[in-house]
């Protein structure tokens, strides 16, 4: 049997998927840290171990994500937007709009019926609209990432952040706490701002149902709910949203190999 490897080196996490005969054989995730090269090596090793295969068994490897250049094993580097499209299409062929919320940027894709990108847009050069803003706030409020979403849903009165800056959001959050503002209102404020940015991105490519959300941001049920409210649609969430792009890369690897 031939195995295919998809590696997605993201700004915060590195993800890998091995497929064989169209099935996912193994998947693995670790923090990207400050050396993508090391992260990539470690990821590949652990992933191979998990799948119980060797490098020689891998017919083709596609690397994607911000740090894709650091995957030594890769036969090809492919833009993450394309991998994401391919990945989601393999899970939900009926999806036409994908919101991919990553650590550092957010992108929205429109797909045609064949999983091809009909339109897409990537968030701007400032990180204020990315998952990173949430990480920073969660960190300073000492809330676990898994908890920020549910917490935000309790809020009745989300605060508005005066600074657009993700980094300064931290001190602003602290000052709000000092003023006695409830933590749920602060996290809700960030979620709301993010949802607004996302809906503006969706506006740019045009919304077509069904709509799915992927990337690490899709692990956040709070964010999902805020975005659903803003857009007025229900979002499909794949079972392993963070792995969609890596899965797409593995599928691409298979395609590439077959095309020769």
């Amino acid at each position: 049997m031939s195995y295919y490897l998809g590696i997605d080196i993201g700004s915060s996490t590195s993800k890998g998927v091995i497929t064989g005969d169209g099935d996912v054989i193994a998947q693995h995730l670790l923090l990207s840290g400050v050396n993508y090269r090391l992260a990539a090596q470690k990821l590949v090793d652990e992933l191979l171990a998990k799948a119980g295969v060797t490098r020689e068994d891998i017919a083709c490897t596609v690397a994607t994500g911000q740090g894709s250049a650091n995957v030594e094993l890769a036969d090809q580097q492919i833009a993450d937007i394309r991998c994401c499209a391919r990945g989601i299409y393999s899970i939900y062929p009926s999806v036409r709009t994908v919101i991919d919320v990553q650590g550092q940027s957010t992108q929205v894709l429109r797909l045609n019926g064949e999983g091809q990108i009909a339109n897409f847009v990537v968030s701007e050069k400032c990180a204020s609209g990315s998952g990173r803003f949430l990480d920073i706030i969660a960190n300073v409020l000492q809330i676990k990432l898994e908890e920020v979403g549910p917490l935000s849903l309790k809020s009745k009165n989300p605060v508005t952040f005066t600074t657009g800056c993700a980094v300064f959001g931290e001190s602003e959050a602290v000052s709000r706490v000092a003023e006695g503002v409830a933590r749920e209102d602060i996290v809700a404020g960030v979620h709301q701002a993010l949802a607004e940015k996302i809906s503006s991105l969706v506006g740019k490519v045009g919304m077509e149902e069904r709509c799915a959300i992927t990337g690490g941001g899709a692990l956040n049920i709070g964010l999902i709910s805020w975005v659903e409210r803003k857009l007025g649609v229900e979002l499909l969430v794949p079972p392993e949203p963070q792995f969609v792009t890596a899965l797409g890369a593995a599928i691409m690897a298979e395609d590439t190999c077959k095309d020769g």
């Binding site: 400050v34 090269r37 050069k125 300064f168 003023e179």
Partner: protein, 285 residues
Amino acid sequence: MVRIYFAGIDLGSTMTKIVIINDDEQILAYVVHHTGAEHRHLANRVMEEGLAEASLSIDDISFVMATGYGRINVPFADRQITELSCHARGVASFFPNVRLAIDIGGQDAKGLKIRDGKLLDFVMSDKCAAGTGRFLEVIAAALGIEVEDLGGISLRSKQKVSVSSTCTVFAQQEVVNHLSAGVPLEDVVAGLHDAMASRTARMVQRLKVEPDVVFTGGVAKNAGVVKALEENLRCPVLVPEEPLLSGALGAALLGKEHVLKALARGETIQTGERRLDRATFFEKE
């Protein structure tokens, strides 16, 4: 002879600083603390520590001037004044010939045009963490090194890389990319310092760069940024012995001037209630 005493407190975004002086402008005590997330309610504590060091009680202080990002929230302050004026005043007391002062703190960067010790004009960075002390803090934290060590590391660099991202978050990514590609740490850090210095240099151009140029604020403790700034401004840059204190010292001095002026006009000085209770940190909108 009866001495009178003045305190200046600089409640910065990152560091809280206090200076106590007498009417001869001698520094009797100073205290510096991290404003850090866990202990934000610091105003009273630094005051207490400062008083203890100077062997004074709160009632001995004639006037307390507050400055810095959290200046509104010092309950025992008699008056608030911006860090722009305070830095200018403080720097001028160290370097009377200063014509351009650059202050880079945790939250912003400023250029101050000073003539004969007086602030004439200023420029300030926008609300973006890039180009501020926070920028360096975030990246140092990601790299797992101390901010204090950045300067020394960068001075070892032989060939700095260019860091072009304007956003702190993206710059962090760029740094990681460089490191992953095998660029030595010192060259990356030197690149960061250069990016910051060139941004600052561009910002202060409008004030005309003329000696003496003085660099203050917490980031002035970073020898790498000092060097990069000298390169970018193409002129020598002076740094006070304790650059963190310029603002607090300036506040104390301005407090003294305020009092003397009032006394000269035969007015009584309006001072606030001397309560050393918990301060809330940030300004309310």
